[in-house]
């Protein structure tokens, strides 16, 4: 099944729960099949499928709890205190578990955009299509998300150094 493994991984990161992720993936494939006529040939099929999954997540209980102000770019979003310095972020030494913990700690709108960009390697345009936001917003949100991620990793590194 195309995109099955990737969609499941993405769903787990969004929902934070395997059972909820399984429901999301099942709903995504069913909606994808039913609504294939609405898919416009020539547009990005992958972005279309991820968008279905994300919408399913937003409509779930977990999604409603996690994304109260998802698209409000003007509203100040909670960011971890940034104490990054070149010395504290020695990424070659950062364990994968540490990165996963930081990723899981991020607000969902930061987590999803980092996953779409770094893991799924989508272009900014495809990310915009998936999240239904303009490319400029993709860039600013991604920048804030990475800053928050670096802040969390730096905090972890500082804690480990003590």
């Amino acid at each position: 099944m195309p995109l099955f493994d990737q969609l499941y991984n993405f769903a787990c990161w969004l929902a934070g729960d395997r059972t909820a992720a399984e429901d999301l993936v099942q709903e995504t494939f069913m909606k994808g099949l039913r609504g294939f006529s609405s898919f416009r040939q020539g547009t990005n099929f992958r972005a279309w499928m991820y968008r279905i999954l994300r919408n399913a997540f937003l409509n779930s209980q977990a999604g409603l709890r996690a994304t109260v102000s998802l698209d409000d770019e003007d509203q100040a979003t909670l960011e971890p205190e940034t104490r990054e310095t070149p010395e504290t972020i020695l990424l070659a030494q950062v364990e994968q578990d540490t990165i996963r913990a930081a990723l899981a700690e991020l607000p969902v709108q930061y987590r999803e955009i980092i996953l779409l960009c770094d893991l799924e390697e989508m272009t900014y345009s495809a990310i915009g299509e998936t999240l239904a936001i303009p490319t400029g917003t993709v860039m600013s949100r991604l920048s804030r998300a990475r800053r928050a991620m670096r802040g969390l990793l730096a905090a972890q590194a500082a804690k480990g150094a003590k």
């Binding site: 499941y8 991984n9 787990c12 099942q26 070149p86 960009c117 770094d118 893991l119 900014y124």
Partner: protein, 261 residues
């Protein structure tokens, strides 16, 4: 460009999303500013580390079978009472099959593209890291008879280097690098102010990354860099540089000629 402007554009730089002009401006600044070059490298490392760490959850075979069962057509006996009605579903069944084929082909194309993109990203990261380093090569020499023997005992293969006396290119040296577990030669050349990295890796069935690296072929552009890749005598060679594609191709022609000797 100053450091603040550079830092603001570094995310787009590591994501390969900058326009050619902005990309050139960042490259120029990074070439002179070690702090920004180090920051660019850190962001590339974080991007790669995040990619590796976030590929974490694997679906169970039960879920795969369950969803496969939902989207797959149900077989019916020709003698069953439903067989007549099932004829009505044949167009729908054909449409679903066509959809699955379209999706499978799209998926294969995407996987091919992703594997190629990943291999090229690793090569570009190595090239950028080399240029940012104060000691870009381990053997510093313009003499091919010094650089080539330096790799003896370090690589499970050997290669020829071209005579550059009547060409605009100059050999600066080389070093040993690894693509995951496979050792490779990285050679650094110069033409005017442009630097060229030539990567040579064994292209055999045993090479772990063969499927990805074998997808690198011909000329391409990635993040504004020019690249050219080819296979010669069981070795896969890839050249990357910020120079024009024509200059990369000229150096590739010299390398090809040396390999065929």
């Amino acid at each position: 460009m100053n450091c603040e402007l550079c830092r603001n554009q570094l995310d787009a730089y590591v994501d390969g999303e900058l326009a050619q002009q902005d990309f050139a401006a960042i490259e120029s600044h990074i070439g002179e500013c070690h702090a920004c070059a180090a920051e660019a490298l850190r962001r590339m490392q974080l991007k790669r580390a995040t990619r590796d760490a976030s590929q974490h959850f694997t679906p169970s075979p039960e879920l795969r079978a369950q969803i496969g069962g939902i989207i797959a057509p149900k077989p019916t006996s020709p003698n069953s009472p439903n067989s007549q009605r099932s004829l009505l579903w044949r167009p729908a069944f054909a449409a679903v099959c066509a959809l699955l084929i379209v999706v499978a082909v799209s998926s294969m194309l995407l996987m091919h593209h992703a594997a190629r993109h990943q291999a090229m990203s690793e090569i570009l990261d190595l090239h950028v890291a080399t240029l940012a380093s104060p000691n870009p090569v381990d053997v510093v020499s313009t003499d091919r008879h010094t650089v080539k023997p330096w790799f003896q005992g370090k690589l499970p293969f050997t290669f020829n280097l071209p005579e550059l006396q009547n060409s605009p290119y100059r050999l600066l040296g080389g070093k040993l690098v690894y693509f995951h577990d496979d050792p490779a030669a990285q050679l650094l050349f110069e033409e005017r102010k442009h630097r060229f990295s030539v990567f040579i890796v064994q292209d055999t069935d045993s090479a772990l990354l063969k499927p990805a690296f074998s997808k690198l072929s011909g000329q391409s552009r990635e993040r504004g860099f020019s690249a050219e890749s080819w296979n010669a005598g069981g070795l896969r060679c890839t050249i990357v540089s910020d120079a024009a594609a024509y200059d990369v191709h000229q150096l590739a022609a010299l390398m090809r000629s040396a390999q065929s000797q």
